[in-house]
Amino acid sequence: MKIKIIVTLKSGVLDPQGKAIQQTLTGMGFNDVKEVRQGKYFDIETNESDEAKAKKNVDEMCKKLLANLVIEDYKIL
């Protein structure tokens, strides 16, 4: 089973890369861009066949390693 995770910076946390991307997009003529926030995406393939159990494990993985909860939020898709 594959589980997808998205890790993003919490709102209010400075994202200099997102800001640089936003400025570049604006410079390229995409004038509608208001804000860009950059994040991370993980694809985890697990041997666990029980979806609930697998997601519970992944949740623990996010808390312990994949996200730094001081500045990041995660979403298991």
């Binding site: 946390v13 400075l14 200099p16 890369q17 312990k64 390693l65 994949l66 730094n68 001081v70």
Partner: protein, 227 residues
């Protein structure tokens, strides 16, 4: 006084630290990250570098390496743990220190000398130090210290801010902040002040013919206080 420097794959200031510690009288051992136990020692140093290629987040993988549980146990028992640069990042990832080191505000790798002010002397690292302002070297891409407002209040209430970036006269302002760090923070302690993380590299400032000598002031003081 005995010290241990932990080597992670990608550490690159470990040998400089070894030279510095020995120069000021520590009997130092180099410890590989795959070891499980620490030798008996008074000080553990997590050196600078790019442990595990800075994968995922700086210090995050090293923060889960085999040796780390021993380092955490050593810190919890009151042992001195010093993290420099990447070592500081690792300490925040283990939870021994609060907050996180984010990418520098202007997305640049900064490699230059800075001045830092010693903020608290009620600890073994800076007790009786002869200078209040040190000129030290920084070299990092992720040194932008950040924590939540609630955490900052706790840090300030406990005098956990160890070092702040300042001008040569000791004044802290935006101009003396190289990386956007919250409150110009360059180094912090844990609550008990036996764990110190700092972005500047004192081990690079121990020879007047190479760079400067304010690192010597730091190490001379540290070994005196460790006795």
């Amino acid at each position: 006084m005995r010290s241990s420097v932990i080597i992670f794959p990608g550490s690159n200031c470990d040998r400089d630290m070894d030279v510095a510690l020995k120069k000021y009288g520590f009997k130092n051992h180099m410890i590989w990250h795959n070891d499980i136990t620490l030798p008996k020692c008074d000080l553990v140093v997590l050196p600078g570098g790019f442990s595990y290629g800075d994968y995922l987040r700086c210090g995050s993988i090293a923060g889960k390496s085999k040796i780390i549980q021993s380092v955490i146990d050593f810190a919890k028992s009151g042992g001195l743990v010093l993290g420099i640069c990447n070592g500081f990042q690792i300490l925040t990832e283990t939870g021994l220190l609060p907050g996180v080191l984010q990418q520098n505000k202007y997305l640049n790798f900064i490699c230059r000398n800075v001045h830092v002010k010693v903020n608290d002397k009620k600890n073994k690292y800076f007790k009786d130090i002869s200078k209040d302002i040190l000129e030290l070297h920084i070299a990092h891409n992720e040194g932008n210290y950040f924590c939540s407002e609630e955490e900052l209040k706790v840090i300030e209430d406990n005098n956990q801010i160890a070092l702040t970036y300042c001008n040569s006269d000791g004044s802290n302002n935006k101009d003396s902040n190289p990386n956007g760090a919250l409150k110009n923070i360059a180094g912090i302690f844990n609550k008990e002040k036996n764990v110190l993380g700092m972005m500047p590299h004192p081990e690079r400032m121990i020879d007047k013919y190479l760079s400067g000598q304010d690192g010597s002031v730091f190490f001379e003081n540290l070994i005196r206080n460790s006795k």
